[in-house]
Symmetry: C2
Amino acid sequence: MAAEENIIIIGKKPVIDYVLATIVLFNEGYDEVIIRGQGSNVSKAVDVYNALVHRLQDSVELVGVSIDSVERGRRLIPVIEIRVRRKIA
Amino acid sequence: MAAEENIIIIGKKPVIDYVLATIVLFNEGYDEVIIRGQGSNVSKAVDVYNALVHRLQDSVELVGVSIDSVERGRRLIPVIEIRVRRKIA
Ligand SMILES: [Zn+2]
């Protein structure tokens, strides 16, 4: 398992798809997953986080949120990385 | 000065307007300012943060980022609050 495998990149799919992808990673044995969104997908990443918490409730916790920018051509676009951890009951 | 006065609510104005509004609050004596965005303005809030850092560089630091949801009608919409602190050189 490569170090970067536990990253969910938010794109054009429905929010629920990314929620389920996160749960799959937890079930595969990852304790932590990073939900990453760029540009207009920054808000969608927060949507995914909220839907994940709604679904897993006390089984998931927020480790931390980082914000940054990346260059796309000559523009700087916003980036968010939301790190969540599975809590073992 | 009321407790809530140091919040910048991100809306439809250009990013630079919110950057300048944050700097005004710092200059008025607030050490910390919260940059808050809801819905599609979540990514714009990160834009404002990045532009603020670009402008103030070492004079500003990130205190923390919180993410949550609020109800708008029957929908849950994402919220971000980015807390920044002015660093005294
Ligand atoms: Zn520059």
